[in-house]
Each structure stands twice: as structure tokens, then as C-alpha cells.
């Protein structure tokens, strides 16, 4: 069972005050820490569990405009056997289709049974790369997978639908699955394990070494403008003892028409 896992290095923005740059078409990320995309972490864990059960090798592939060393070492520490990193500054300007084209070029001649991608990325949230890559490779795909089982050259997957519904889909291997969070509990990568992971094979590529030119990489999506949403709701802090606060709450509820 040879598995390819596509991972993305994403900014950790929960604590960051995001600033839009002067062009209005990008967010300034210079001082923001980066980490593996959460969905990809679950995809990698699923791959490692399959490897532990059925053997085989895991190759991690990542495409990024900036250094991804930490993310790669983390994946290798968790159980991937080798990593291919495609780093090129121009990648920052590319959309999901172009990223899928780059991944396709890297993967098309490799031998694999399964490709796992995260269902979406926490930064742009398009959920497109996985399905586009599968289409380019002409292999079947299943999205939003929250459970999977292998059986005789097929993979039986459980898809997450809305309102708690589930759909069971069976596809022939090789196939691509986009993995939903919660499918497993990702393991921890210790610092020692990350240090040891430096011994594993890391292949570094860029667009030039892959013979990809501008004409191969046309975007389908053009970003018009980034906007910071206007704050429309506000939080009111009520101070005072229980009696005062209760009186104020009742007044507010009356004013808003919730109480008569």
C-alpha cells in the first residue's frame, strides 16, 4: 500500500492581527507562524495507520511559496518515509487549479495506491486542490471522508453529509480521498523524532526543475480584493452585583422586545 499525502503549510492566524497589503490582494504573513494544515494532519495520520496495518510507503508532497522545513520534518517524524517539497516564491500568486497542476506534474509518474489530501485548507478554504488533482490524474475521488476501510483493491469510505447524514461510497484503487477532521486522533511528533527525521529522504524541487513554465500555470481564479469584515455586533459587559446585573439584563431584553 503506497500512499501519497498532499500537505499544505498554512499560517496560524488564531492569535494574529491580520493586515491586508497595499495591493489589497494579499495578506501580510511575514511574522505569522506556519504549521501543517489541520485537515492534512488527519490525512497523514490516516496514511500512517494504513501503513502500520498493511505496510508500504508514504510520500508527502507539498507545494509552497516559502520554506516548509518544519512541516516536512513533522510529517516525516510522524511516519512518512520521504518528502517532496516544491518551493517557489511565485507559488504565492497561484490558485487551487495551478497548485493541482504542479502536484499532478510531481505525482503523475509515481507509483501509488492511494492519495490522501485534507478536505480543505484553513487559510483559503477552497476545498479544490484534491478533486482537481484527482481529475488531472484521471482517478476516482471521494470527498469529506470520515472513515475508510480497504477491501480487495477497493476502498470503502464513509462521507460526511449535512445534518448528521452519512454516505458510504466504494471506489476502486488507485483513488484520491479528501479527509475530514475527526476521522482519527493525530499523533504527536516529538522534537527528538523531528531531529531524527532529518535522516529521511527529502527531495527539493522548484518550478524550473519540473519544467513548468508560465503557460502551464495559468490561474482560473483572480482575487479582486481582500476585505476585513465590518464589525456589526458588539459585546456589552455588564458590571455590578447580581441584582444590578439582573436588572440591566431585564431592561435590555425589554428594549429589544424579548420581554414585555
Amino acid at each position: 500500500m503506497n500512499i501519497i499525502v498532499c500537505v499544505k503549510s498554512v499560517p496560524i492566524t488564531t492569535e494574529a492581527e491580520l493586515v491586508i497589503d497595499r495591493t489589497g490582494k494579499a495578506v501580510i504573513l511575514e511574522d505569522t507562524p506556519f504549521d501543517i494544515n489541520e485537515w492534512d494532519e488527519y490525512a497523514l495520520e490516516e496514511a500512517v495507520r494504513l501503513k502500520e496495518k498493511f505496510g508500504g510507503e508514504i510520500t508527502v508532497v507539498t507545494v509552497s511559496p516559502r520554506d516548509v522545513k518544519e512541516v516536512i520534518l513533522k510529517c516525516l517524524a510522524k511516519g512518512a518515509d520521504r518528502a517532496i517539497k516544491i518551493v517557489d516564491r511565485s507559488i504565492a500568486e497561484y490558485d487551487a487549479y495551478t497548485i493541482a497542476r504542479i502536484l499532478h506534474t510531481a505525482i503523475k509518474n509515481m507509483r501509488y495506491d492511494l492519495i490522501l489530501c485534507g478536505a480543505q485548507a484553513s487559510d483559503d478554504g477552497y476545498a479544490l486542490v484534491g478533486v482537481m488533482l484527482a481529475s488531472l490524474l484521471r482517478i476516482p475521488y471521494v470527498t469529506m471522508v470520515k472513515g475508510l476501510e480497504l477491501a480487495n483493491g477497493y476502498v470503502i469510505t464513509v462521507r460526511e453529509l449535512e445534518e448528521g447524514f452519512e454516505e458510504i461510497v466504494e471506489v476502486k484503487l488507485p483513488a484520491l480521498l479528501t479527509i475530514q477532521t475527526g476521522i482519527n486522533e493525530p499523533r504527536y511528533a516529538s522534537i527528538m523524532a523531528m531531529r531524527r527525521a532529518r535522516q529521511k529522504e527529502i527531495i527539493s524541487l522548484d518550478l524550473k526543475s519540473m519544467n513548468l513554465t508560465e503557460s502551464d500555470l495559468g490561474n482560473w481564479i483572480e482575487i479582486q480584493e481582500f476585505l476585513i469584515p465590518e464589525r456589526k455586533k458588539k459585546c456589552i459587559m455588564l458590571c455590578g452585583d447580581a441584582n444590578e446585573v439582573t436588572t440591566k439584563v431585564v431592561e435590555i431584553l425589554k428594549q429589544r422586545g424579548f420581554l414585555k
Binding site: A16, D35, R187, Y188, S190, I191, M192, A193, M194
Partner: protein, 391 residues
Amino acid sequence: MRAEGLFGKEELEILKNLNFNLCLQCGKCAASCPMFLRTELNPRTLVRKTLYFTSQLTLYPPFSISEINNVWTCTTCNNCIIYCPRDVKPLNIILGLRAILLERGNVPSTIGEALENIYKFGNPFGISSLKRAEWARGLNIKKASRGSKIDLLYFVGCITSYDNRAQSIARSMVAILKNSEVDFSILGENENCCGNEVYYLGERGLFETIIEKNIERFQQYEVSKIVATCPHCFNVLKNKYKVGDIEILHHTQLLSDLIDKGMMNFSQRLNKKIAFHDPCYLGKHNNIFEEPRKILESIPGVTLLELEHSRRNSLCCGCGGGRMWYKDAGEISRPSEDRVKEAVDIGAEILAVACPLCLSELEDAVKKIGYESKLQVLDIAEVVHKSISAS
């Protein structure tokens, strides 16, 4: 089942280096363990089974991974080491097993998350380091800067820096130092996690990284003395770092010293019955028992009470060694609740602590049992602060 079934060669080496073949199986470690009756953790059987494994002896029933996983419930209170008559140090076996599980990536997710946050943000909460000194805003505290020598560094610690309730310890400490005209600095945004819980969780690689970073800071600012209000920071800085000539103090030691030198100006009477709860990392790990009691007794009006379990026999609050990030599978009775009841039983009005973890855990217990009107939990710095200012 033989050893090779459960541990790898390198993993067995970690365990073989621990000295536990003197164990008599007397069970004092289990009897004194705050988690033994609450969870599946049993230090006595862990010692026995690990000994069988490293000696290649067959064991029935076999040692299982789920049994080893119980090591995450340990609070690292040090009781098992203190009470062992044969110097076996069961805690070290727990730390060895934690290191093995951690290297395999087999860590409870909440603990893994805290460790990742420490690696990425320098604190277990995953909050930006830029917010580390927000508690100090408006207090006019000297922050370490390039080229300045620091005589006394106040190492605030993660919990005291970020936790709303614990921040009051830092503010009280600052008020006391200013009142006694002691010159001190903080590292502010440049302070990083001390690594005590990282060490006791067995994350050796991360611990090395933290030590390296912190020692570099201390050297950069030519620090002569460090005071910590958190005994976890104090313990690791004093016993696990190799800081050369830098003197490491817990705030109870510093305040006790200020009293001796006549530099503490107690201007307010505090007519309260106060019991002191010995935090594990101050008492059981570092034998500091007298200083906190001396401070409390020096405050005009205070009646110092002794809890039934005190000093080396103190009860653990249940938070140390990374356990504050561990989620038990089901509801367990918390050691902190027993402690709070003990304080109320002897008529204490204030339960004084000297640790931000104990503060938060014991205060939660007071709320949970509904003792808010009977017992207040305060850090010793907060108690002293009340007695030096009218506010």
C-alpha cells in the same frame, strides 16, 4: 509476553538505566500516590512489571499498553520517591515510560496540543508571546533591554502571565518589591516557558531546546539572581538548568529574606486564620517548608493554622507534571476537593498557597463544593500585598 513484544531495543535501554531492582513491593508508593485510588495508576505494579520486562522474565497477566498509558495521570508530586524505603524512585519509571510513549507519538491529544503550543508560542495556551506582559501594563516595570545588566530578574511563568486570576500574583509581587524598594526587571515578551512540565512529561528534545533558549537570554542580560512566583519554574531553573552562578529563588525565600532584613513594611493588620498549603514543587521537591510559614506569621493579626496533612505529608492539588492538560476518561474525585475540606475543617478563613497552579485548582474546588463564603484561596504574595497596602 516477553519484553520485545512491547518495547523496542532503545526503549528498553531507557528503562534499564533506572535503578529499581531493589524494590520490595511494599506498596508505599501506591499508598502515598494521590492518583492511586482515583485512577488506574499504580506505581507499585508499574515498577514490578517494568522490572520483569527489562529482566526478560515472563509475566502473567501480560503488561499492556493501556496499563502503561496510565502514566499520564501522574501529578509528579514526588510522594512515591519520598516514601520509598529502598530509594527506587518510581517517578523516574513513570517519566521513562512517558518518554517512550511520547517518542512514539502516543500522547493524549490535549497534552500534545499543550506541548506543540509551547514549541510554537513559548506557552502552553497557544497565545501570542506579544501578549505575555499584558498583565504588567501601566505598572511601570523595567523590562530587560540590550546592554543592561539585571541584578534581580522576576521570572513570571506562563500561567501567571496569561491566566486572569493568576496575574494577580504577579501584580502583588510587583507591589511588594516596589514597596520594599527592590530593583528588579522582567523579560516581558521575551520570556519563554520554563519547561518544567515539558521535562516531567518526558519531552526531552523540546526541553533541551527550551533550556538553550532561556539560558541564552539569562546570559544576554547578565542576570545575577532570578525569583519565580511559580514553584514549577523555580524547580526546573534550580535543579534542571545549569545556570552557573545565577542564584535561583522562590518568592517565599525572597520575601522571607526581606523580612529578615527589615525591608518589609507591614502597615495593615490582617485578622485572619490562615492555613498554608505546601505546593509539591516547593515542599516535596525542594524542601522549602519554613519560609512561607515565617512570612505568614510575620503579618500582624494572622493566626497560622496547620493542615492535617502538611509539609512533606502535604496533599497534592492534582495539577502538576502536565496533569492540568490531561482529561480523565470519566469524572474522578479531585484531590483539591479533599484539600479544601481539610482547610475548612480546621477553621481556616484563607488557604494560602505559593503556586499559580495550586491557586487555580484549589479555587475551582472551593467553587465546586460551594465553600465561597467560608474559604478564600490566595497566593502568599497576595496575602502579603493586603498587609502592606490599604487597598
